[in-house]
């Protein structure tokens, strides 16, 4: 014979949120920021092959923090969604907002109905053109989607890093300045992050259809000089 205990919905939500936050806080953070001519994403990531930042489509990039297997599955789903949508309609019809909404719905569903909430936070960035704006969409573990005007910070220490970055940059800057500010914000006043432990991806027009570029360590060192 089993006993059923009543759990208030407020309590249930609180427990789930706490669980997800704990999981996310274990990983390192990511800064995504708009600079003069593009969007940069900077992650602290000691691995040189398990990436947190990825190309999704011609003008869309993805970044995820938290449990790797969970956000990597979301990354793959995003690439499939984008390539499938572009194949069905046209490349110009692939929109980051639509993708961000799908992510938000899925994370929201998993938070309320899943066995456990996903322990991830993700960022969908879009480089603008004549018909679409440059955008950063941040999607939290419970499905909250926010449209960040200039920069977004994901991960455990988000509030502190956000404050540091906001204090250092108040207008659009060139890539080298924004990257320096992002790395300084991630590191904090008491430590420096080795270039080998940084993962940097940008979205920028270089005359090609595909605008995503993963920066190598030497390119990052050059920009940080």
């Amino acid at each position: 014979m089993s006993n059923y205990f009543y759990v208030a919905p407020e309590q249930l939500i609180r427990d789930r949120a706490e669980f997800a936050q704990k999981g996310i806080a274990r990983g390192r953070s990511i800064v995504g920021a708009i600079y003069e001519t593009g969007v940069v994403m900077v992650a602290e990531n000691p691995s040189a092959s398990l990436f947190k930042i990825s190309e999704v489509y011609d003008r869309i990039a993805f970044a995820g923090v938290g449990k790797y297997n969970e956000f990597d599955r979301l990354r793959e789903a995003g690439i499939r969604w984008a390539d499938g949508t572009g194949f069905t309609y046209s490349r110009g019809d692939v929109d980051a907002r639509a993708l961000a909404n799908y992510y938000a719905q899925h994370l929201g569903d998993m938070f309320t109905e899943g066995q456990k909430p996903l322990e991830v936070e993700i960022l969908v960035a879009q480089l603008g053109n004549r018909i679409r704006p440059t955008k950063l969409y941040r999607i939290a573990y419970e499905g909250t989607i926010s449209d960040e005007p200039r920069f977004a910070v994901l991960g455990g220490d988000a509030e502190t890093i956000k404050a540091r970055f906001a204090a250092s940059e108040d207008s659009l800057e060139p890539l080298t300045t924004t990257l320096k500010n992002a790395v300084a914000a991630l590191a904090g006043p008491d430590r420096t992050i080795d270039v080998g432990d940084l993962e940097v991806g940008i979205l920028e027009d270089r005359g090609d259809r595909r605008t995503f570029l993963r920066l190598h360590d030497d390119q990052v060192s050059e920009l940080l000089r």
Binding site: S54, D83, Q105, R210
Partner: protein, 264 residues
């Protein structure tokens, strides 16, 4: 389309084609007998630093459907794909191949090898050709960066993939183009010699096959000429191509339409 999430056991992996099949995005197989515009000649010739490809521009149904079709397209920066057969299926096939290579690269963060690309296309061709009368036969050429050489892959109707070390042709003008290449090819041609030979092969095909378009001096439309080398896919400018065909045409005019006893 919603967010395509899969469990680990039925995940289609980095293959766009298999994902597209599971999502119902690929063309249905059919058993009709309708034939849309087809017929073509495209050749590929290996040279010392890559591959030259030349293709005619005409789409033929019961009469000429189009005079400026592009039958050679970059599948990615270092790979070219040419099509012969049904235009509609050929165009879909090129889109599928382009997207598949890019999809693989994004999913895995590594580029597919040239041989991997060639093999990947086999089942797609097989699926189309064995289930539909709307045949498509492609030709793949690319720069193999791991072996630092240009390579050519041709296919048979059942999707069989064969590497050619010298040259390959597809389309209805094959007998004429292939004979020209057979007589004129030698290993280690340089770029210019390969371009000249390729142009001559297409000229011959256009001259003898009613479904292959030759140089069109009236409309200034010429066959497409491309090279694939360590520099990537490069298409020759229309004026450059026009000049090469004008030279051949001049010679032929002087000799009264025959090759004049030599391969030129």
């Amino acid at each position: 389309m919603g967010l395509p999430l899969f469990s680990a056991s039925d995940d289609p992996g980095p293959s766009f084609f298999h994902f597209a099949q599971s999502a119902g995005l690929t063309s249905p197989t059919s058993s009709g007998t309708a034939l849309s515009p087809h017929a073509t000649t495209v050749i590929a010739v290996r040279y010392d630093e890559g591959v030259v490809m030349v293709g005619d521009r005409q789409a033929t149904g019961n009469y000429i459907a189009s005079r400026d079709v592009r039958k050679i397209e970059p599948a990615d920066r270092f790979t070219a794909l040419a099509i012969s057969g049904t235009a509609a299926r050929g165009i879909e096939f090129i889109r599928m191949a382009q997207l598949s290579f890019e999809h693989y690269e994004k999913m895995t963060d590594t580029a597919l090898s040239l041989e991997g690309k060639a093999n990947y296309l086999s089942p797609i061709i097989q699926r189309n050709n064995l289930t539909s009368p709307l045949l498509v036969l492609p030709l793949l050429a690319g720069w193999d960066s791991s072996h630092q050489t240009g390579r050519i892959f041709e296919y048979d109707g059942a999707g069989g993939c064969y590497e050619r070390l010298d040259f390959a042709t597809i389309g209805s003008g094959t007998p004429f183009a292939e004979n020209t290449l057979r007589l004129g090819f030698s290993a280690g041609l340089d770029r210019d010699a390969a371009l000249t030979l390729g142009a001559l092969a297409i000229y011959e095909a256009g001259d003898n096959d009613p479904s292959t378009g030759g140089p069109d001096f009236v409309r200034n439309i010429f066959p497409m000429m491309v090279t694939i080398s360590s520099e990537g896919f490069q298409e020759l400018a229309n004026e450059d191509v026009g000049e090469r065909f004008r030279v051949i045409n001049e010679r032929r005019t002087q000799s009264g339409g025959v090759a004049g006893g030599s391969l030129r």
